[in-house]
């Protein structure tokens, strides 16, 4: 019983980071109705740049963070221009395939620019661990959880209580209606992409700093976790991203503990496949809108 509770707690801690990745995916999908598969690799460009800046000038966490933000933003703008802004019209699948192609580029670009299997990333300041009733929660995990919560609250405020949020929701609802209502759809789409990049940078930095190192597999890892969390939570929903992230974290932790690492993958992908087929709207129960049916 204690194991079960401890696994759940570990799962929630990992799930907070997954939720942040899923939020990045869901922001882009929610507004543009297109998937950016190159989201994870874009984050990888940032964290590798951060690690490099840290190694060159021992910049510490602040310097590495600034470089991470810059790297993710540059990579994301590149992806947005080539895979999203340049492909007009009703072409969700073309954008998805194109972002996959850019994923190849970003991955090999990182491998060529930063050779070596693993790179050190500055770690978070030491935080006190929490123990209660036989359970254990790392200080790092608490920080990740707090940051994820803060990002979610800020995004909620931005989307539901600001003019830009109104424009985003208008675009998500109907691009045509938004355009005739004087919303600059290209600008809103571009800024949404940048917003997702910022959330992704926060997620990538927290994950890299918690682990203390990064590998060239980070891009694939981040895309898969974020994508799975978003799909099981429900596409284009903030609540779904949070639910999906936590669910993914808990399922992984329980499967790892009770069944082992090899079975964990099987459980996660099996669960995703079943979720997609039985529950296309995800756990948040996203209802299919007219825009979605066109895909």
């Amino acid at each position: 019983m204690l194991d079960l509770a401890q696994n759940t707690l570990d799962g929630i801690a990992a799930g907070a980071a997954y939720a942040l990745l899923a939020i990045g995916f869901t922001l882009i999908f929610g507004v543009m109705r297109r998937l950016n598969i190159a989201f994870g690799p874009s984050i990888m460009v940032g964290v590798f740049l951060g690690a490099w800046v840290h190694a060159q000038w021992s910049a510490g966490l602040i310097g590495a963070a600034a470089a991470t933000f810059a790297g993710v933003l540059i990579a994301s703008v590149y992806v947005e221009r080539l895979s999203f802004a340049a492909i007009r019209g009703d072409a969700a699948l073309a954008s998805m395939a194109s972002s996959f192609a850019l994923w190849m580029q970003l991955e090999q670009g990182v491998a060529l620019a930063f050779p070596g299997r693993t790179t050190a990333f500055p770690t978070l300041p030491q935080l006190p661990d929490v123990r209660f009733a036989g359970l254990f929660l790392g200080g790092d995990d608490l920080l990740v959880f707090a940051v994820a919560g803060a990002v979610l609250l800020l995004l909620h405020r931005l989307i539901y209580h600001s003019h830009f949020g109104l424009e985003m929701r208008a675009l998500a609802d109907s691009p045509e209606a938004a355009a005739v209502s004087q919303v600059n759809t290209r600008r809103v789409a571009f800024l949404t992409f940048c917003l997702a990049a910022l959330v992704g940078a926060v997620a990538g930095m927290l994950i890299a700093a918690t682990d203390g190192q990064i590998t060239p597999k980070f891009g694939l890892w981040a895309t898969m976790k974020g994508l799975i969390a978003m799909m099981i939570g429900g596409l284009g929903s903030l609540r779904g991203a949070l639910l999906g992230g936590l669910a993914l974290g808990i399922i992984e932790a329980q499967a790892q503990w009770y069944l082992g690492a090899a079975a964990r993958e099987i459980v996660v992908y099996g669960f995703l496949f079943l979720c997609l087929i039985a529950l296309p709207g995800g756990m948040a129960g996203v209802r299919e809108t007219g825009a979605e049916r066109k895909l």
Binding site: A94, A97, Q105, L112, A262
Partner: protein, 296 residues
């Protein structure tokens, strides 16, 4: 022939099966990032059949093809009801599920003094049919080329019988197709089965050429490449995806100077072609122009 050229041509032939498999689904209006799963199923099934059950080569490969088609239909049956993005991710999930399952799949036994069979993540060694039958790389290439020619001829026949036209209709506008009396769901399941069978056939041939297969070979990137071949080569004709394979493996992988930047060049090429020619180099318009020019 030069051994290097033979191996390049064999690879081109084998990946053409995977590319054609993804292309059939593209024609039917779906993107699948999971065709590598059927490639893996075909490779493992026919490898087991020939190495462990000592079946004849042709029967073993046919068994891999049939199993690929069956599983393809089974996956397409629920997945075809989903929207495009859900379909793509569902196929991706199924492929990763297959790869993860093969990582723990152990089925070994003693065949004539050798312990052989799939050994989880360590892969499946000694699919020895090529050695035992004394098949050189040259004749092996002939087998691959003849199989590929047979598949292309079959697709050509399907085009004559208006099968491809109906599939294109389903892909272009499922609602309009349904109003014309086309059974959209059946066509999508059929396309899934055909695509699974094609990938299974390629996988079976691949297992017997490589003699060693492992789950890590059937990763997401393999499936993404398969889709990309059709997208750059063109959706207008079955030669489109093969042109895509030729560009990637024939040009980029084989030229030493380009090998280090292969993914950057290939990725950029795909992205640019998707902007300039959304239906690929050999798209429907070009194919129709060439046809009318040939008829004149």
């Amino acid at each position: 022939m030069d051994p290097f050229l033979i191996s390049v041509l064999s690879n081109i032939g084998l990946f053409s099966f995977l590319a054609l498999s993804a292309w059939i689904l593209l024609i039917g209006g779906e993107i699948s990032f999971g065709q590598q799963a059927y490639f893996a199923i075909g490779a493992y099934a026919s490898g087991i059949a020939s190495a462990l059950w000592v079946w004849p080569f042709a029967v073993a490969v046919l068994w891999g093809t049939v199993l690929g088609a069956g599983v393809g239909a089974l996956v397409a049956w629920p997945a075809a009801r989903l929207s495009g993005v859900h379909y793509a991710i569902a196929t991706l999930a199924f492929a990763e599920l297959t790869r993860a399952s093969l990582n723990v799949f152990r089925y070994q036994r003693d065949v004539e003094g050798y312990l052989t069979g799939p050994d989880g993540a360590n892969g499946f060694r000694d699919i020895r049919w090529v050695y035992e039958a004394g098949i050189e790389p040259g004749p092996n290439l002939t087998i691959i080329a003849l199989s590929l020619a047979g598949v292309i001829a079959l697709i050509g026949l399907a085009a004559r019988l208006n099968v491809m036209a109906q599939l294109r209709m389903v892909g272009e506008d499922p609602i309009l197709a349904a109003m014309q009396g086309v059974r959209v769901l059946r066509w999508k399941i059929g396309a899934g089965a055909a695509a699974g069978g094609l990938a299974g056939l390629g996988g079976g041939l691949y297992a017997h050429l490589a003699t060693y297969i492992e789950p890590a070979q059937f990763s997401v990137m393999t499936g993404v490449h398969a889709v990309a071949y059709g997208l750059i080569g063109g959706l207008g004709t079955a030669l489109g995806p093969i042109l895509g394979v030729l560009i990637d493996i024939g040009l980029l992988e084989s030229l030493r100077a380009l090998a280090a930047y292969r993914m950057i060049v290939f990725g950029g090429l795909v992205a640019i072609i998707l902007i300039l020619r959304p239906r690929g180099i050999l798209d429907e318009t070009l194919v129709a122009k060439v046809r009318s020019w040939v008829r004149r």
